[in-house]
Amino acid sequence: MNAWILAATILLGAGLTAALWGVASGPLSRRMVAQNLTTAVACPSLLLLAQGYHRPSYVDLALLLALLGPVGTLVFARLLADELAVATPAAWGLTWTAAGVSAAVVVAVCAATGPSRAMVKLLVTGVLLIGGNLVASRALQGGFRQVRGG
């Protein structure tokens, strides 16, 4: 039990409990925001676990989640678009907080890894994670509606 695993435990416990509470209760807009939050919480914790267990191969899990998590949110945003148009979720504070946490975790893990190809892989994962979070949040607010018709 080192500091990395402890940080991952705290992040998972607090973040995923909040996400579960948001997904299981309340109006649809809150549920969608909570679903978007899960990948923003789980991906940095996977990076922390990869560092804590001294297994660089676990970064592949974080990379895959950073790619597929926003895809899942986009699936819901597309298939529930009619219901979402009535009550648009607005949670930019949460989005920027999640982006900040992700950036902090990526910087910490990069500093622990040291300059190498592995650090570039971590940076690519971080960019995909934060970019995917922003794209999914914007899609939830209906920002990409004009693409559907074309």
């Binding site: 039990m1 695993i5 549920r31 789980a42 899990l61 998590g69």
Partner: protein, 88 residues
Amino acid sequence: MADAVIVVVLLLVAATATAAVATRDPSRQALVLSLQGVVLAVLFTVLQAPDVALSQLAVGSALTPLLIMLSVRKVRRRARTTDEGGDG
């Protein structure tokens, strides 16, 4: 002491599964199942099974909710057309 993360994630799996069962509407249930997929993948990671976690992420985060949502849409669309056919 290193087992604390395993205990936390196991509790999360139990709580998520209970929430998935307690949710009634299928489209809301798909949202909870997406969360459950990610939590299961984290569980497999802390149990030192990253290949299983990789497969679980690939299936549970985007594919299973997509299947459920498409099925719900298809069933509702068919129910709507049979209603219109019956009245008309």
